[in-house]
Amino acid sequence: MKEMEASQATVSGTVSIKNRQGLHARPADRFVRLALSFDAAVTIVKDNQQVDGKSILNLLTLGAEQGTQLEIRTSGTDAEQALAALTALVNSGFDED
């Protein structure tokens, strides 16, 4: 892949909230901290809502309960790594039950 294409790449994947408490403040905080460690822009889509994945305030507006499907979209040079790491975090249930 050419450099130019790599820097513009947008990738996305769908995850489902696994932990019983849903995406409350602590998981949102962990998600944002991880998202901020990447250069890639992170967008979370729930139905017709689309929010910045690097803002706790924005993530909390989703009110994502257990079982909610969210699409994670990342774009930028490390988009693939960001998507993989964020997907793994949500799938881990944020280490909650």
């Binding site: 995406l23 409350h24 403040a25 962990r30 305030l57 924005n58 909390l60 009110g63």
Partner: protein, 158 residues
């Protein structure tokens, strides 16, 4: 969920004297006791639980807003109150900003949905900069109650 579903108007506190995290939370829990929403005997346990939650990571969610909270068996429905600090309090927020607006929440242990919907309501409304600024400038608890009512009636967010 609306603010009026969980905010106890009598426990709203303005111009907080407290200038650190623990004092703010103590003042807010005491306000709920004074308003008759929390029993005096449960106060210390609730305070300890909220502070323990803060140790896991600050509930300062950015833009000068914090949502200190805990689950506690002594409440049978979601209970909350609001406090405003004119100068702001250092709360270890992720964005490093001092906190001026506090929404304290105490939920029954097995009702994660209600807690999420309260957080959803708070964050959705406070994303509106005008609402956020008006709350920070409020001088009396009546001002806050009126602003929350207006928010409940969708006057800030479409």
């Amino acid at each position: 969920m609306k603010f009026s579903d969980f905010v106890c108007g009598d426990a709203i506190r303005m111009q907080l004297d407290a200038d650190d995290k623990e004092s703010v939370i103590r003042e807010m829990v005491s306000a709920l006791v004074a308003a008759g929403q929390v029993k005096e005997g449960e106060k210390d346990d609730i305070l300890k639980a909220i502070l323990k939650r803060e140790e896991l990571g600050s509930t300062g969610i950015g833009r000068g807003i914090a949502v200190p909270h805990t689950k506690h068996p002594s409440v049978d429905k979601l209970l909350g109150t609001v406090a405003v600090s004119e100068d702001g309090v250092d709360f270890d927020s992720l964005d490093g900003e001092k906190v001026q607006l506090f929404f304290l929440l105490i939920s029954p242990p097995d009702r994660p949905g209600d807690h999420l919907r309260a957080l959803e309501n708070i964050s959705r409304q406070l994303r509106d900069e005008t609402f956020c600024r008006f709350l920070k400038q409020a001088k009396t608890s009546q001002d806050v109650i009126q602003l929350l009512d207006e928010a409940d009636n969708n006057q800030f967010v479409s």
